[in-house]
Symmetry: C5
Subunit: 162 residues, 5 copies
């Protein structure tokens, strides 16, 4: 197990487009962990504005890792935007050699049920905020769960033995 | 709240292909704000010419942010062009570490109603021009609206509480 | 209006795959303009060979702008090739900070009518060759036509007032 | 035949999302080969986190080659994630000039049969771990099998003579 | 006509996945030409391993041009792999400013007829190997055939006059 008492900086990028405040959930989860971290929050209009926000969180604000939250609308053009945002996020994390935990919720995951939508948003954000903390402070804990069907936004999947 | 009296430069990239003059709406909205900005306008034939125009607005003209407006035609090949343009715009803003507000209107959003098409074009351009100003002069105002379902080109979406 | 008497260099990239000699049309249109330009022509097998040809026209041959002509076949795999070529062309023009006017004609635009195919090829090439000249010698003339529904390969679209 | 007694370093990147522990199979296969290698294992939440993990395995951990294992879920959004991860993996290996053997299993390859899913996961991982060893220690052995319909995750395909 | 007696180096990248040995056909065609060339062959498991192989052929082995042969399977996931490989190949040739002739055969082009599959593989490889030689030793010969409907893997298409 790897531990560190060194202060780390976590970026939280989020959008005004999202119908739920996932950025606030990420901030709340990180703070509740009691880990020695500073948080930098950066809000943009929509998901396609997230990649450059992440780049600035890494290169202008010195973040060690970023959690990028966003909601993808239900129309085909929205899904294409999600794809473009994800490719941008790939590009930024590769250039920075640092992780971006992409916490995207598709509006149609909840089949029009807003209570369910809120549950998915909160659960996925909380679990990925914890993943970000684990990658920073305890990466070995991820290998202990390798290949175990971990899910964010719902229950874990069943395992198969190899 | 972050404010600044320093002169900023905003690029407005637009196309001859678009059936409405969204570039002019962007210029008008920025000027009406009374903010201390210079505007550089750069018109290209179509949306696939926008990414390099944005690059030149950043690197040759010193813009701090760019608003890129364009209309995406209704045929599959047009939508593919829109996708290619959007990926180029991702690449440019990541390399420049500066935002490009992409204001794309899909011709088929209005279902053939030109009055509606004009309304979408004007509303989306005005709101994203304001977003550009907020990112430059008052970024904290975006976080105040994080996760509130903000939309451009139509009414905002309903919020869900997390 | 911006004018210049300085000699400029225009690259014309084209393919053996195309069923019509759009490269020759581009050369003819540029020469007929009487503008002070040198033309460098570079022919490749197919559209996926165009991006690197454009890169060489910029970096090895010193071109200020490139017109890249090609025909996209009618099968799904051909359309995917067109998409890949277009993404490569985006990448090259962004890295060079110079425009590539992409003049692609899809074989299925003419619904099997070869006379129509030839008309589309010629019209689109001539208009984009003129666009290239305008971008080099008179960029302000594009802004005068911003948002006016300009089309290449057929008649212009109707305008909507914003 | 190329051989080497020099110690080489192989990265194994894997995910918590996968329903089977392919990373462990890769490690086991490499160790059983008796080749002079060190293994560095790096576990991430899901496949979209693999590209930057691979980059770090190359640039921070000095790996000569990486095996990246992951499971792609059965929904359209999962397949899009797989595509985005694969494009990121392309980008990383090109920038590093080193191979990443991508061992992705699509959940729907097994048509809901978990025994079959496990077989595919194990077979594909073992064969690609061997491919990684061959690329490092005996690249000529791949040319001997060029164009012979080699498959991972199932039986080889039939050959055609050219 | 451009000629050169200078020794050139051609890379041939191919795969074990392909059901036919297109790499050998490329080597055979180049040798039969009698041109002053050295050939470097590099075999990888599948098409997604080709881009980095091409990069190494350029930067580690000093190749002037590369012929990359591969077979794309008939399932949707295979076609996606082909797309990802093609995008990687675009990226490599742009960064190297050198051509990669991509010789991909889709397994479903032959509608299950293996004799036809072999014919397509051989014809496309031979013609693109000749294209590679022409690009190196006689680029003007390509312009002489510009816009003439040249095809690889089958008969040429008809021409239209512009």
């Amino acid at each position: 197990m790897v531990t560190s008492s060194e202060l780390r900086r976590i970026g939280v990028a989020d959008t005004m487009f999202s119908r739920g405040d996932m950025g606030a959930v990420a901030v709340r989860t990180i703070k509740a962990s009691g880990k020695p971290v500073e948080i930098v929050r950066y809000t943009v209009p929509g998901i396609k504005d997230l990649p450059v926000a992440c780049k600035k969180l890494f290169f202008d604000h010195g973040c060690d890792i970023v959690i990028a939250t966003g909601m993808v609308g239900g129309k085909p053009v929205d899904k294409q935007c999600g794809h473009e945002a994800s490719l941008g996020i790939q590009s930024v994390q590769i250039s920075a050699s640092r992780h971006i935990l992409e916490v995207f919720v598709h509006e149609d995951e909840s089949a029009g049920d807003d209570v369910r939508l809120a549950e998915i948003m909160a659960d996925r954000t909380e679990k990925h905020a914890q993943n970000a903390l684990d990658l920073l402070f305890n990466p070995a804990s991820l290998t202990l769960r390798a290949g175990t069907g971990q899910r964010q936004g719902g229950p874990n999947a069943s395992r198969v033995r190899l």
